[in-house]
Every structure is written in C-alpha cells, then in structure tokens.
Subunit: 352 residues, 2 copies
Amino acid sequence: MNDSPDFDGLKCPIPLRDYPRITLGHGGGGQLSSELVEHLFLPAFHNPYLENLGDSAVLPIAGKRLAFSTDSFVVRPLFFPGGSIGDLAVNGTVNDLAMSGAKPLYLSAGFIIEEGFEIQQLVAICNQMSQAAKKAGISIVTGDTKVIEKGHGDGCFINTSGIGIIPDGINIGPANARPDDVILISGTIADHGMAIMSVREGLEFETTIESDSAALNSLVEYMLKVNTDIHVLRDPTRGGVASSLNEIATSSKVGIVLQELSIPVTPSVQSACEFLGMDPLHVANEGKLIAIVSSETAELLLEMMKKHPLGKDSAIIGTVTSDHSGRVVEKTAIGASRVVTPQIGEQLPRIC
Amino acid sequence: MNDSPDFDGLKCPIPLRDYPRITLGHGGGGQLSSELVEHLFLPAFHNPYLENLGDSAVLPIAGKRLAFSTDSFVVRPLFFPGGSIGDLAVNGTVNDLAMSGAKPLYLSAGFIIEEGFEIQQLVAICNQMSQAAKKAGISIVTGDTKVIEKGHGDGCFINTSGIGIIPDGINIGPANARPDDVILISGTIADHGMAIMSVREGLEFETTIESDSAALNSLVEYMLKVNTDIHVLRDPTRGGVASSLNEIATSSKVGIVLQELSIPVTPSVQSACEFLGMDPLHVANEGKLIAIVSSETAELLLEMMKKHPLGKDSAIIGTVTSDHSGRVVEKTAIGASRVVTPQIGEQLPRIC
C-alpha cells in the first residue's frame, strides 16, 4: 500500500483575474492573500527587498541591516480574553521584526477611528499598547490619527510599523530551510484564533480560551544566544501553522513532514476546534513561533527553549525533506499521510 | 490707534475630557487633533523621540540619524483632479521624512480594503503608488493587506510608513525658529483642499482646480545644497498653513507675522475659497513646504527655490518675532492685523 498522498489536482483553479472584487478571503493570510501579493503588489512595486517576502524587509542602512515591517489591525472585538487590539498591534509588529532575527527598536502607530468612538476605549487601547511596548522593550516614536464618518469605519483600526537592527552573523529567512532540518514550535497552537472565535460567537467551553498574544523578541534573542545558526523563523498568525509552513516549503523549495501527535494543542482548544470543525493547523497564533534548524542543533535548542517562559511548551513537530517540494504532509495519529494545504480563503475574518 | 489684536479669550475652553466620544474634528489636524496628542497619546506612549512632535521621529541608529514617519490615508474620493489616494499615500510620507531634512529611502504600505472593492481600482491605486515611488526615488519594501466586511469600511484606506537618513550637519525641527528669521512658502497654497472640495461637492469653477500632490524631497535636497542652515521645514497638510505656523510658533516659543499680500494663491483657488467662505490659510496642501531660515540667507534661497520645478512660485510670506510668543498674526491687505488661529476642528473631513 502506498501511503503517499496524491498531489494531482491541488492547484487552485481560480487565478486573481477571475475575482473582479475583493473578497474577505483576500485578507485571510492564505492562498488568496498570496495571489494578491503575487499578481498585484509584487508586479506593481517590484524590488529585491519586497520580493524576499519575509515577515519584514531587510534593508542596508549605514553599514547595518535594518528590519522594517508593517501590519494593520482590524480585530473584532477590540477586547478579548488574553488581549486587545492594543497589545496585538504592538506584539504583531514586534514579532514580524523578531522573525528576521532583528532586535526590534521603534514602532509607529497610525489610528483610523470612527466618529463617535468612545474616548475611554481609546485610552484603554493606548494604555495596553504602552504596556505591551514596555514589556517588549521598544518605543512608540511617531503616530498619526485619522477620523472617518460614523458608518464608514468600525470603531478603531490600528497600523503599526516597526524597525529593528539585525545583528551581524544572523541569516534567517523563509528560503533557508534545508532537507533534514528539524521544525520546532514554541508552544501550543491555535489559542488566539479560538479565543476570538469563542467570544465572537458567544460560545462557552469548559475553560475560557485566552489569546496567546505576546512579544516574542526576548525568546528569539535567547534562542540566538544558544545557537546563531537558525535557518527560518516564522510566527504563524493568519492562516495558522499550515499556511506558514506551506509558504516556507515554497520559498525554500523543500517538502515538510509534520507529526500530528507531536503538535501541542491544549485540550480546550482541541475540543473547541473539534466542536467547530476547524483544523488547529489553520487557526491563528499571536505568541508562537516556528523555528527551523539543523538536526544537530535541534535537541539542545528545544531543551533551552523550554526554559524560557514563552517557550515552555516547545516541541519538535516535524522535519524538512527533499521530497514533495513545496508541499506539507502530516503523518496522522493512525499512521496515514495527509496533505496539509494552506488555507484558501478566510476561515475567520478579522482575527488580527 | 493700536492695531495689535487682543489675545484674551482665545484659549480653547473645552479640554479633551469634555468630549466623551471621538468627533471628526479630532482628525482634522487642528486644535482638537493637538489635544488628542497632548492629553492622550503623549502621556500613554511618552518618550523623548515622540515628544519632539516633528513630522517624523529622529532616531539614533548605527551612528546615523534615522527619520521614521507614519501616515494613514482615508481621502474621499479615491481619485481626484491631480492625484489619487495612491500618489498621496506615497508623497505624504515622503514629505514627512523630507521635512526633517532626511533623504527618504524606504516605504511600507498597509491596505485596509472593504469587501467588494473592485480589483481594477486597487490595481490603479497600486500603479499610481508605484509611479509616485519611482518619481520620489524610493522603494516600497514591505506591505500588509486586511479585508473588512462590506459596510464596515469605505473602499480603501492606506497606511504608509517611511524611513530615511538625515545627513550629518543638518538640524531641522519645529522648535528651531528664531526671532528675525524669514518664512518662505514653496508655491501657491490651498490647491489640494480646494481640488477635493470641488469634486466632492460637485462644484464647477472656471478652471479645474488640481491637487498639488507631489514629493518634495528633491526640492529639499536642492535647498540644502544651497544652504544647510535651514531652521524649520513643514508641509502644511491638514489644517493648512495656519495650523502649521501655529504649531511652529508654539514649539519655537516665538511669534509669527504673515503678510497677506505676499501669500501666493491662484485666482481660481482664491475665488473658490471666497465662494465657499473658506480661508486659504486653513486649507490643506500636499505638495508645498514652509521653510524658516535666517534673514541673511532668505533672499538667495528664494531665488534658487524659484529655479526648481516644485518651487517656481516660491515667496517670502512673513517673519518670526519675539513678540506675541505662540501666536500667528497676519497683516492684511488693508493694513490691519488679525490673529490667525489654528483650525479648531474639521474643516473638510477626509482630505488626505
């Protein structure tokens, strides 16, 4: 019996041009988002920095490598168990910078606020941004506020952009995974997405599911002290672990094999996902990272990651292979293989 | 007869805490915007870079001074005579960087798009961003797209953030105006605001009023070649020349005297302003700069600015004084004096 999955017919049959209008799926961080980038943004803005497609651009400045990243936040509701749009906006951009190995330094904050929004809510959001910035050790140094008429927006949207410096000797990027590398995750997956889902849909599970929203730069700095030879780092936000690993497999021209039983998921998130028919691999995280490193260094790095507060549930979840380039395959609990596709459209709009 | 205006009773009697909700005026770039910054954002995020309150933050990086700026664009309509949200989003942030004397290098682009938005419009916007970036000599190096449900946004909002390097020996900032300095403007004022106003309200004037949307970095670079001793640069966008000069007067603790007859305004903008009862000093510009320089260097700088395509209508419009600190006074055509107040709230929502 051949347990290798059949890859025929997996190509998305609908190119960008067949969508005359933007759909929610174009913002989902999955296949449709990628198509928008590939067929619209890259051709329009083409330059080597953009084409790298990392979580942040890596730029030469004054003899150093600067990391530069941007993210807009439209999460609904604005406040949820474990976080708010405020700390998400800070942590999200800090994490994008950290995923290039950079030490994040400065953030901008651009607010688009709907007329009639309560000032007290804005104060609460700003205080949470401030606390998150303090915790991450970065400063919010410049900002902008626009107000739009009632009914033309939705409360409060926030853009943060950030800059950091990549230390010499670090070379982390989505195209750097090599066959026989080992894939680690820094903790349980799908917490953020299920936290949002449970409050938005008014679902009650046995325990409250909290977002994992956290700034990962201290964990990355700590990991780089153990081993500077980290090949890939990625925070699996929109589209979840599945979309991130598919992007890495494509960028690095390698295959990826996951071990289902090794992937950490809390029991409450697991039952919530089962109840809602969702695959935890497709659900967003906001305080977890995927690291891909050489097999020789993986065990030591895992051991050390477990000693960091943000990495205590770290696990080795898979390996990189020269087979099935561009594809992610999961070995399931019952010993079968299944292809893990990137999310196509939008599983859960406005998750971040 | 004493022609000096009476400054009593000019203080805004309504502090932030008396507004329980965000009004359109909080996004107008005038007094209410300043109060939001002063009473909410500064206390929440306080740090020395932010408190400088320039168009961009000036940051130490790798032994150089980096300029970092952010701006969100919510202009309505998206396309207007002389420009679109696309070139505005590029030029606006390029200009914020240039106003610190920086050479702009890299831009990020964050899109918040409403479900149902036509892809062809997005293509047109991106092409205009790309052309504007090319013209300004900068690269769009990183981006992000979020999609919000139909009815929760308004077509397309764009945030751009930018970084640039400030050459050594340049020291430009809003607090650097000194008594006896001379104030220059790089061309006619109020074009952008009246262009938006005329299309939005369906008004027809004798000639089409076009936005002045342009990237000013080449003009600034050229001016700095003539004279590195420029004290203040500011692009008078939301809130117009009046709000910019009031901010400078406050930051520099000086008074400002404008000569009404010296301020360049095209006849069609002048009649449109009269027709609508608007003061050109309060109307937004998107391709003009205010420069404040020592009286010894002003005439030569003016002469040279007139030779640059973006400065051909440059003029000296006023002087800095040690009198009436924090206030701007205009000597009118009939020889009287009037206080030029910053805009209080919102003259024209969603101008940029």
